[in-house]
């Protein structure tokens, strides 16, 4: 059962990612990206990361992409002023060819990992255990990330106030 869900989720992730990269209008692209994100969240759940699954949906798909959609709609661009991309397919094929060695190398490297059982276990990625690990071993990065968020907040405000 899990295998079938896994296959469905992976295919939807990859196909929506492809569609996102391919389509011309940014809103359709963003919506496609949401599909990707949700599929990924499902994959996280399959990997026993329940909290990450939640965080992904709330923060990533819910906040970040929403903000992006807001800005896209705010800028209100019509079809003609979108950048013209005549050689899109050519570039994509070219980049795909160039990326292939990278992929092959990685796949080869990954293929050497010994097989282990990857079924879902309970209590692995729960909030409690994650919180304990976070505040016991990863306190400093946690504080730094919070500072980073404040910085970006201030930055966003500064940029918004800037006179052009």
């Amino acid at each position: 059962m899990t295998d079938l869900i896994f296959i469905i989720l992976s295919l939807s992730a990859i196909l929506s990612a492809l569609y996102m990269v391919w389509v011309r209008e940014p809103i359709i692209s963003a919506l496609s990206f949401i599909v990707t994100l949700l599929s990924l969240a499902g994959l996280f759940a399959l990997l026993s990361a329940s909290f990450i699954f939640l965080v992904q949906i709330i923060v990533y798909a819910g906040a970040i992409i929403t903000l992006l959609l807001l800005i896209i709609m705010f800028l209100n661009i019509d079809d003609e002023s979108l950048p013209k991309e005549p050689k899109k397919l050519l570039y994509m094929v070219l980049s795909a060819i160039l990326v292939a060695p990278l992929d092959m190398a990685l796949i080869k490297a990954v293929g050497t990992l010994p097989k282990k059982d990857m079924s879902i276990i309970s209590n692995f990625g729960s909030v409690k255990s994650l919180g304990l690990t976070l505040f016991n071993g990863w306190l400093l990065p946690f504080e730094l990330v919070s500072i980073l968020l404040i910085v970006s907040l201030i930055g966003a405000i500064v940029f918004a106030k800037r006179k052009i």
């Binding site: 160039l98 060695p101 990278l102 080869k108």
Partner: protein, 626 residues
């Protein structure tokens, strides 16, 4: 005693240096009176002369050398600063310093009031120093240093009135034509060095080892050394600078272009006598050139109007006589003529200068006339000099010219003898043409009414030189006239042939010379003594235009060299060399431009190139890892 040699040479140099510094002071800080310049300028040649005379009195029989220090030592090229006093150099140094001193006195009077007074005497002293260096040097390189130095001073002094561009052109011409001669000289000297330079390069060593040079190269060396003399002593074909050199002030013409510098070529041939006595064919060539130059210059002189140009051509002509003598191996006769010529030619130039001064710088003889009343001293001294140059007994020129003609006749060179005899006639003709036109003929309307009164600085040296022109010949008076021919004994080390012909032939030749000279005087008298210069004299024609030699040289040589240098400049230098260098520089720039395409500010392109690099890396990695 031997240390005196370096004083003789160094004193005029020191004088020149002091005068230059004093002149700079005069220009920049405060005016200096002329008297101070004159004092320094006249003192140094006098002391040099006195020292030379002292050596003559005390040590004339010994051969003195003095080595100051080693100048160059590069592998085999070992040159010292060393001086030599033997009969030849002592003889030359004596009359050079004496006549040099007299002309310095004359110049003090002639250049009075000129604003470059100090500069003039600085150059003049420098010239005298260089000339003494030339004659007293003990090796050819040091002599060449003096040789070039006198050329330099000649250029400086000819272009003295540099505000007139033509004078500068004349100075350039003198220097450049000299240089052509010097090129030949260097070729000869270098070849000599190649063969025997390793054994020492002073005169004594050269004379000792001259036999080591293969006989084919001997003629080569002798010829090219003579080319230097052709340039310096103004023979055909490099005489063209001497008439133009008259653009300089008259004391310069008197000292440099009459008495001293132009005789440096004769001195050089005499100094290398050990070489020339081994190559009689080159000697014949020298004599032929000398004879041709004499004749050619004399012909041109018969139709000239400028008083100094006539004297310049006369110098070329008399130099030809000297070269005939040394070319045929009669070194004593040639040097005797150098000696007497110095006296009367310097006197002629100084007299001409006096006349020019009196008439406020008028130089055309057909605008003069009746100068006899203007100054008695100038008249009588000029007459003495003209008689001397024409070879009239008992003046100096008679003895020296007679010796040369006798030598040419006795050694069988009848053509040369005939040419020189004819030239002697021409000489007396054009000199007396000059004399009669300037001093006797009815004065021209263009002439200044009241000629200037001359200062004693100008006139007294004329008298001294006139006395010299009379008595100088007696040192070489031949035996048949009762003289002891002292000069032949003085120069006996040359090993001149002593040809004995019968007394009748010798006497007959002497009479013939005198007759020819008198004939020239008579023709000149008939044509010019009675003319009235009020009538405008027109002269034109081929001879007046110096056979257009200057124009031919200009068209054939000068213009082509100018075209060649323009060609090298515009085509070779600009397009070829500049082009190549710029091409190399630009190619780097273009290479950089090609690489700059990679830096187009397009972030996606940067990401692409990163990917490109990474993918290459991974391909390689996979090859390695298998």
């Amino acid at each position: 005693m031997s240390a005196l040699l370096i004083w003789i040479v160094a004193l005029p140099f020191a004088g020149s240096l002091m005068l230059s510094i004093l002149y700079l002071y005069h220009l920049k800080v405060k005016k200096v009176e002329e008297i101070y310049f004159s004092l320094i300028a006249l003192l140094t040649p006098l002391i040099s002369f006195l020292l030379t005379f002292w050596i003559f009195l005390k040590a004339s029989d010994k051969k003195i050398t003095f080595t100051a220090f080693k100048w160059l030592k590069v592998a085999n090229f070992d040159i010292d600063i060393s001086f030599l006093s033997d009969h030849l150099s002592l003889f030359m140094a004596l009359f050079v310093s004496f006549i040099g001193w007299l002309i310095h006195i004359y110049a003090a009077g002639y250049m009075k009031g000129d604003e470059g007074y100090g500069k003039f005497f600085a150059y003049f002293n420098l010239f005298l120093g260089m000339m003494l260096l030339l004659v007293l040097a003990n090796n050819p390189i040091l002599m060449f240093f003096g040789w070039e130095g006198v050329g330099l001073c000649s250029y400086l002094l000819i272009s003295y009135y540099f505000s007139d561009a033509q004078n500068v052109v004349a100075g350039n011409k003198a220097f450049i034509v000299n240089r052509v001669g010097d090129f030949g000289f260097i070729i000869g000297l270098s070849t000599l060095f190649i063969y025997i330079g390793s054994k020492g390069f002073d005169y004594a060593s050269l004379q000792a080892h001259i036999g080591l040079v293969p006989s084919s190269m001997l003629s080569f060396i002798a010829f090219f050394l003579f080319v230097g003399a052709i340039g310096k002593s103004a023979q055909i074909p490099l005489y063209i600078w001497l008439p133009d050199a008259m653009a300089g002030p008259t004391p310069v013409s008197a000292l440099i272009h009459a008495a001293t510098m132009v005789t440096a070529g004769v001195y050089m041939v005499a100094r290398f006598h050990f070489l020339y006595s081994l190559t009689p064919n080159v000697g014949e060539f020298i004599a032929v050139i000398g004879a041709l130059s004499s004749l050619f210059a004399a012909i041109i002189a018969t139709r000239q109007r400028d008083i100094k140009k006539i004297l310049a051509y006369s110098t070329i002509s008399q130099l030809g006589y000297m070269f005939v003598a040394v070319g045929l191996g009669f070194y004593a006769s040639g040097l005797f003529h150098v000696f007497t010529h110095a006296f009367f030619k310097a006197l002629l130039f100084m007299g001409a200068g006096a006349v020019i001064l009196q008439l406020h710088h008028e130089q055309d003889i057909f605008h003069m006339g009746e100068m006899k009343e203007a100054s008695k001293i100038v008249y009588w001294t000029f007459l003495v000099a003209t008689l001397a140059i024409s070879g009239i007994f008992p003046f100096a020129g008679f003895f020296s010219k007679d010796e040369i003609l006798f030598g040419a006749f006795a050694s069988g060179h009848y053509t040369i003898w005939a040419v020189e005899l004819f030239t002697a006639g021409l000489t007396s003709y054009y000199m007396f043409r000059l004399f009669f036109t300037v001093f006797i003929a009815k004065k021209s309307s263009k002439r200044v009414e009241k000629p200037l009164i001359l200062s004693p600085f100008v006139t007294y040296p004329l008298v001294v030189l006139a006395i010299g022109s009379v008595v100088a010949g007696f040192i070489g008076a031949p035996k048949i006239l009762g003289g002891s021919n002292a000069i032949a004994h003085w120069f006996s080390f040359f090993g001149d042939e002593d040809i004995e012909l019968s007394y009748t032939i010798e006497f007959g030749l002497m009479i013939l010379n005198t007759v020819v000279a008198l004939a020239g005087i008579y023709i000149a008298y008939k044509k010019f003594a009675g003319i009235n210069l009020q009538n405008e004299a027109k002269i034109d024609g081929l001879i007046y235009h110096k056979f257009y030699i200057d124009e031919i040289y200009d068209a054939l040589i000068v213009k082509n060299i100018q075209r060649l240098s323009w060609l090298i400049y515009a085509v070779f230098d600009k397009k070829f060399i500049d082009g190549t260098v710029m091409m190399i520089a630009k190619s780097f720039y273009h290479l950089g431009e090609l690489v700059a395409v990679l830096q187009n500010g397009n972030v996606r392109f940067y990401a692409f190139s990163m990917l490109f690099g990474a993918s290459l890396f991974f391909i390689y990695l996979m090859q390695v890892m298998g």
